[in-house]
Symmetry: C2
Subunit: 363 residues, 2 copies
């Protein structure tokens, strides 16, 4: 069977490439997807209690790329949600990331920005060369903040302590010397107004054929194609010839509660208590009204679906061998979090897909 | 590409055949579906207001076949809903079908079953041979009931008057000499507890591959198969060689109302007022709670998706010519409402699919 373009994976990356090829080049494409639905990990759906949930954990869109925001806005309206996170520390709910408000709440103070700046400087540890994620926090906010907010959360999330992780990992969650207590500071933030799944459906058109519930390896030999865009696990593509890449996974424990509200933020982090990392309450993200509410507790695990590439030197080195193989293929493009073994946020995936189309596909 | 079994259409008929083949014969199957979703016309989904709607009009499951009920019960729990319909006549809401209660409400009487029986006999017209749908009602309930309840509704629904339609058409909606005011009297009645779409997803397994958004004719020549089970329009299969079969279609006009309830029954028929035939309020079917409610008005039309085969002698004769062609194929099975050009209820489709599997596929 002949398709000029075949795409493996119907997540954001695959769908965007399909949309571009079908609309811009007016070509037919085939997407092959292992799951029985499109949308990848940003798939959302209504649960049995009629609450819109994010099946693979909370997804909050945020970007500074105007082109990415404008592109997605062709397929969805937005709920202009701005993400805020609380962290449960010593029995109290403290705003994350570390800002003026965090320190004031934690120590029951009422300091100004400048005073907080000085306070944190006094706490901070003089580290010579920043070598890992522990060094980042110790040098910015000192030992107590590190212990309470970061040490155990990181251990739960990655099964590694911050001193075993590259400094870039923890820099996602910064320390700020101001009152901006939002989790993200990007210019554009929101949740698709009617859900990610509906946004994904809006990208489809009759030139995009989708083969669901199908491992691409079971069928790919029967297809005749000029270009393959692969968004699955890179190690699987190469039959694990350099070994299995490590991916951190999550076990989701959903619960619907017979109450209008469960917690005071969409996400509450639990660095020190319990084995889950955080609790998300979906209605606080989506704005849905109901007299029930659904939450999810996330338990990081090494088993299950691959979610997070592991940010250690060892893993990066192993991926490097696969990357060399990828470069040998002229008619296969590797795109996305699983295929590039990088912890991309959604906006970066969109950007990468748009760029790949412009630079490599539409030549 | 090789699949021993290919199924065209991912509606109830196609999914059930796929489920049987994959589970009972342990064979892989491919379903090719023109739409971008499975479930055919019983597909339901949450709309932008978070209300579960039936996208292609109200579907109420009812059957006397225990095997059909038991089979579907493997894939869903049930909301034990029993369907009741009101008809809007002269500004009042009167129960349908015609029962003791209907007559008492219509004429503001308080007669017993026996008295109603006599009342209707007095009204009834002495018809010799029952030749059409008008004769059915006139002989059972007389001219006034015929005019108020049936004449204009039938004209809206079929664009034909009852005297142009076979007697079997109107016999779906009987006259009863008792107080059973339920719309259906089947032993098993209900709505899948979490929706038809979820029931359909529960039928899937990793041996069922689904190619969505694809007209089977665009790809079928590239497949190698031993048996094709075709559930699409029969005239399309044969490239309309005997002309286009007539199908009655529907235009759906959905509206969400900022009120907890809209009407006193899930379905209210409008035989004489407006151009729509009926209004369905979905929450009354599904039992969902919300402070909003979504309704749909149905306008029968000759344009659009094919829903109802037209029950006239002329249409049946035309279909007969296609049926002769169907019989010539040994490795193609024609199954379902569109392929057999018959107004099957859902339970009959399930029964036909199960029987086809046992008698023709699993030989």
């Amino acid at each position: 069977m002949k398709f000029k373009y075949i795409i493996v994976g119907a997540g954001l990356a695959g769908l965007i490439i399909a949309e571009r090829i079908s609309n811009k080049l007016n070509e037919k494409v085939l997407i092959i997807e292992r799951r029985d639905h499109i949308g990848g990990n940003c798939y959302d759906c209504y649960n049995d209690d009629g609450i819109l949930i994010h099946k693979y954990g909370p997804h909050i869109f945020h970007t500074n790329y105007k082109e990415v925001w404008d592109y997605l806005s062709k397929f969805t309206e937005w709920n202009y949600y701005q993400h805020r996170v609380l962290t449960y520390i010593d029995g109290n709910y403290i705003p994350m990331p570390i800002t003026t408000e965090t320190i004031n709440k934690l120590y029951n103070l009422n300091l100004s920005n400048d005073q907080i700046n000085k306070f944190l400087k006094d706490q901070s540890v003089n580290i010579g060369e920043i070598k890992n994620s522990e060094d980042v926090i110790l040098s910015k906010a000192g030992k107590e903040i590190y212990e309470k907010f970061f040490k155990n959360y990181t251990k739960k999330q990655w099964d590694l302590y911050p001193n075993e992780l590259d400094s870039s990992v923890i820099s996602r969650i910064p320390v700020r010397y101001n009152r901006d207590s939002r989790y993200f500071t990007d210019k554009y933030q929101g949740i698709p107004k009617h859900g990610y799944t509906e946004m994904c459906f809006n990208m489809l058109n009759p030139n995009i054929h989708i083969l669901l519930n199908t491992d691409y390896k079971d069928v790919i030999d029967d297809f005749n194609y000029e270009m393959l865009i692969y968004t699955g696990q890179v190690d699987y593509y190469f039959n694990y010839k350099y070994g299995h890449l490590k991916y951190r996974s999550l076990k989701f424990d959903f619960e619907t509660i017979d109450s209008e509200s469960y917690q005071n933020a969409a996400v509450v982090n639990y660095p020190n208590d319990y084995d889950f990392t955080r609790i998300t309450e979906f209605k606080k993200l989506t704005g849905q009204k109901s007299d029930k509410t659904t939450i999810v507790r996330e338990y990081p695990t090494w088993k299950g679906e691959p979610y997070y590439p592991v940010p250690t030197d060892e893993c990066k080195k192993q991926y490097g061998r696969y990357k060399m193989e990828c470069n040998k293929y002229k008619n296969v493009m590797f795109l996305g979090r699983l295929a590039e073994y990088k912890y991309y946020n959604m906006d970066v995936v969109v950007k990468k897909a748009l760029d790949l189309f412009e630079n490599k596909v539409n030549r």
